[in-house]
């Protein structure tokens, strides 16, 4: 095969694969996961994030809280080596350093102020399990409210410290991390489960 033909075949192959892309993606790389993990603060939506992230690992390397971990093969090969956070193990403190260092802006570059964080961070949303929550059982607790970096904006409490999660919650997971109940009575529902993209 001469070079010209080889190049022609190459281009034809590339065109064919990009045409087949959705079907292939469905069949080979089963994408949507129901695992409960968070992407770092300021990440793009799940599919976009996977195509933008080059797996350089710098976000984890600047995280002062060492909360960013990396997928192995457990979430499918297309999220291999991408960063994730398990809030119950270690939650995000919203320092926004990962966005500063990300070379592809898969994690957006944001300032560490309430306006930027509330406007652009979509990690997930906290959800209270009232059957487990101590405050709802009459034993005033309020730890989640006190752990929240955006208290009164993202979460408020009622008379007996019962937490109520508000719309503004960005899903950093500090409430879940600090919940004294086992299993935790407040959980972050990740953005990719709340808003599954087609």
């Amino acid at each position: 095969m001469n070079r010209r033909n080889f190049l022609k075949d190459l281009i034809a192959g590339a065109v064919a694969t990009s045409a087949l892309k959705p079907a292939l993606a469905e069949a080979v790389f089963s994408a949507q996961s129901n695992q409960r993990y968070l992407r770092p603060p300021g990440s793009l939506s799940e599919k976009e994030f996977e195509s933008r992230c080059i797996r350089c690992g710098q976000c984890g390397e600047v995280c002062p809280n060492r909360c960013i971990e990396y997928f192995g093969l457990e979430n499918g090969i297309d999220s291999l080596n991408t960063p994730y956070i398990v809030p119950r193990a270690k939650a995000c403190i919203l320092c926004m350093k990962c966005g500063d260092v990300c070379p592809t802006d898969a994690i957006k570059e944001l300032d560490r102020n309430a306006e930027d964080i509330l406007g652009h961070v979509r990690m997930g949303k906290a959800r209270v399990n009232e059957n487990l929550c101590l405050s709802y059982q009459g034993k005033t607790c309020g730890v989640c409210y006190r752990a929240c970096p955006l208290a009164d904006v993202a979460i408020k409490t009622q008379l007996l410290e019962q937490p109520v999660v508000l719309e503004a919650c960005v899903g950093c997971g500090l409430c879940e991390r600090s919940c004294i109940q086992i299993p935790q009575a407040i959980k972050i529902i990740p953005d990719h489960i709340l808003n599954p993209v087609s």
Partner: protein, 330 residues
């Protein structure tokens, strides 16, 4: 006998300098995760809560970094990343393959990221596939692996020396990019050893466990040892393919000085990429590693500035074959 032309004296020592560069890049990749761990300790004010081992790590890192910074938790962020993509005092540098992989997976051009590969691309246009020989952290291990196989050879171990088609790696590059495009994720980073090394060192040191990439890398080491010498770099590596393409018309080339050459073929034996310096056949795959210059006993290898290799210059003038031929001509 023809007048001897001596190559520039520094060229003999380039191979040693290259090993120093490789070693320092590798040590940097080991140091950075430790620095990160130290930074997290500083950021959490947790010295009193550390284990004894962690305390000694803290003390060591404090000793190393305190001359340069008084605020390690923030200042040490200025050098981060790996050779795959790194941040150097606010300056982002990325591997051209990472840019190509990202373009393929996203099927869009994201310019702020693309320009981070500008310096490596320009350097490759000038110096050819120098990344493979001079910076790639996997190269250090692969060359040590070659040394190991030579060493094992003394004890009767026969290392594999199969030959494949060198163009295989261009196919790997094309297929890798096509798969990246099909899956919508940068899959090419999974089979690219420098990216794997940087990542796995970080996983192993800072996150407390190596990942799947290490298995792949060990397999490539075994492949090199048992099947083909430097086989992964020669035949499979997609990054090597990309750098070869970029370095096709490189300006800095190694050239044989035919007057000094005695046809001993040590250059061919030492060439990690299986090229043929003895017959002036370097091609786009030469990584300017300068091992052939260092090994040449008659100073017949030098650097020149040219965009093309010279045609085969005939037998070396110090060699028997040339002398026979010229005697016969008289």
């Amino acid at each position: 006998m023809a007048e001897t032309i001596k190559p520039f004296a520094l060229w003999y020592h380039l191979n040693k300098i290259r090993w120093l560069v490789l070693l320092s890049v590798f040590l940097m990749l080991i140091l950075l995760p430790f620095i990160h761990v130290y930074q997290t300790f500083v950021a959490s004010f947790s010295y009193d809560l550390l284990e004894p081992g962690e305390k000694s790590l803290y003390d060591l890192m404090e000793m190393l970094t305190s001359p340069f910074t008084s605020d390690p938790a923030n200042d040490l962020d200025s050098i981060k990343g790996t050779t795959w993509s790194g941040n150097f005092f606010g300056f982002q540098i990325s591997d051209p393959l990472s840019v190509l992989g990202q373009i393929a997976s996203g099927l869009t051009l994201y310019w702020p990221f693309i320009i981070t590969a500008l310096i490596p691309v320009v350097a490759s246009l000038v110096f050819g596939r120098f990344f493979c020989g001079w910076i790639c952290p996997a190269t250090l291990l692969y060359e040590l692996n070659t040394t190991l196989s030579l060493w094992l050879h003394r004890f009767g171990f026969k290392s594999g020396n199969r030959k494949f088609d060198r163009r295989l790696k261009y196919l790997v590059l094309a297929v890798g990019l096509a798969l990246s495009a099909a899956s919508g994720s940068v899959l090419i980073s999974v089979i690219y050893p420098p990216a794997i090394i940087g990542r796995e060192l970080y996983f192993g040191i800072a996150l407390g466990g190596f990942g799947a990439g290490l298995v792949f890398f060990v397999i490539t080491l075994l492949f090199d040892l048992l099947v083909a010498r430097r086989g992964f770099c020669r035949y499979v590596c997609p990054g090597g393919a990309l750098y070869s393409l970029l370095g096709r018309f490189r300006l800095f080339r190694i050239k044989r000085i035919v007057e000094n050459c005695n046809d001993c073929a040590k250059c061919n034996a030492v060439c990690e990429f299986g090229l043929d310096p003895l017959h002036d056949d370097f091609g786009q795959e030469c990584n300017n590693c300068a091992a052939c210059i260092a090994v040449c006993p008659t100073d017949a290898m030098t650097f020149v500035i040219a965009t093309q290799d010279v045609e085969f210059q005939g037998a070396g003038h110090l060699g028997k074959q040339y002398q026979r031929a010229s005697n016969a001509g008289e």
